[in-house]
Amino acid sequence: MGMTMGEKIIAAAAGVPEVKPGEIHTVKTDYLMSNDGTTHLTIDMYNTKLKHPRIADPKKLVFIVDHNIPAENPKTAAVHKKMREFAAANGIDFYEGKGVCHQIMYERYVEPGQFIMGADSHTCSYGALGAFGTGIGCTDFLYAMVTGESWVLVPETLRFELTGKLREGVYPRDLILTIIRDIGANGANYKIMEFGGEGLHNLSVNDRFVLCNLAVEAGAKTGLCEVDEKVRSFLKLREEKYGKPAGGKYFTSDPDAKFLKTYTYDLSKIEPVVATPDFVDTAIPVSEVGEVKIDEAFLGSCNNGRIDELRVAASILKGKTVHPDVRFLIAPASQEVYLQALEEGLVDIFLKSGAMMMNPNCSVCWGSCQGVIGEGETLISTGTRNFKGRAGHKDSKVYLGSAATVTASAIAGCIVSAGGIHSKL
């Protein structure tokens, strides 16, 4: 019986020839990533609850401060200090202020075929490079940190067969919001979302990150994309930049692999959408959203803060100004992205249009550090979630859209697609 790509990665991590959905296996982890959301809790448990604390392999650990950076109060400053000191004392790679954790992992660590656990739900993003990334809590993290292992229930796989190309003005973000709307917020609960087909190969590696990153918003354990030459080129470039050899194992699903269900999407039929408050699986065409005035617009996050999205925003903003009643916040996903945006002159365009440049972090998407919205306010965001109160006050509203829709809305002062902006000006 053939195996899916995800099953092959789990089998390799478990050191067994074959796995089947429903089986529980013990797996070795290639990397363990944790950020300032919960690392302090892991460190506290490590120091106080274990009789003989010992880290299995510090070289597999990566600690990243990205949620509340720079610290906004003494409590979060203390969390960062604890992480910094623990990382230094134990020889753990440590980053702060360099970018959103998943972007750092993508730029510097993740290899195809790896099994990676992260104490953050969007760890499922690493499937863009053909790696199995999955989110865990701080106790699972502690267990994996001291044993080098964890347990995993082998999930069933949903296959998303993509055909064609996205039309101009339509983005991977529109595609994944549409898919989540179709299958529901728990449509992939406990399952793998595997993306493949010629439509997938037409997308860039950055675009694939956008798809995998939101897999958890349909409940998935991970998102996985078929690997191809574009992934090899990405790793080659990374080798030149950071000296990390382009390695990894390229797994693909067998022709007789068993998928629980296969969905087919013709990318040319996708249109710009927004998810409406307070759930991610609520996408409607931007053209049907009606008159929704906004107070704030946010471009950034691990889902949508890469150079591709910044270029889209700059192309729409050039020569225009942000609406006087709107705060437009832009947070590149990493310093690498920020530097490239500077080199390409994008930041110039943003600042001249009246947008605010933020440092690379989770920013508005995390709803506690910067750009929080007040009672009764409305935000349109490229962030990951629009749950009630996610971006600030419990009686505020969050809409999710593509970088193009967010930018066009920031100019118009109300929700509008980039294509429909002229009717609003």
Binding site: N73, D140, Y143, T147, V216, S368, K388
Partner: protein, 163 residues
């Protein structure tokens, strides 16, 4: 496992981790400081009313959203004996058992009970009794039973390998 008897608090579908504990309260020093804000965007009064042994009933996809482990920890600290829902989000599911909080998936019970009802969970008989009716439940996998019996993953780990 002992039989659980408790009063029911009913919650809707898709109760996410930002509802269970909003981001702004995560900076509080301990989960005991945080627990009074549990479910506050949805039901601000709820945390103050829950009594030890009570049961929370959810719809589908309970615990969706972030991996913040404070979410199940807080429910445990409120004294809730178990959460029963049509389905749970997977990270929350692991985190709950890792903190010694029992979760039970039952597709029909959430629509068959109302807030304030008393129910009985007989784990050893794999059945829940509510309103005189029986609702079957699946037995838990062995590794989850081991974690739960020890009172969470850290304690199970100590038992398993002396760490």
């Amino acid at each position: 496992m002992e039989t659980i008897r408790g009063k029911v608090w009913s919650l809707p579908d898709d109760v996410d981790t930002d509802i269970i504990i909003p981001t702004e309260y995560l900076a509080l020093p301990t989960v005991d400081d945080m627990k009074k804000f549990a479910f506050s965007p949805l039901r601000p009064e709820l945390a103050g009313k829950i009594e030890a042994g009570d049961v929370i009933i959810g719809g589908k996809n309970f615990g969706c959203g972030s991996s913040r482990e404070q979410a199940p920890e807080i429910i445990k600290h409120l004294g809730v004996s178990c959460v029963i829902a049509k389905s749970f989000a997977r990270i929350f599911f692991r985190n709950a058992f890792n903190n010694g909080l029992l979760l039970i998936e039952q597709p029909d019970l959430p629509d068959a009970v109302k807030e304030g009802d008393e129910i009985e969970v007989r784990m050893d008989e794999h059945v829940i009794i509510a309103g005189g009716k029986e609702f079957p439940i699946q037995p838990l996998p062995e590794n989850l039973m081991e974690i739960l019996a020890a009172g969470g993953l850290v304690k199970a780990m100590q038992k398993r390998n002396g760490r």
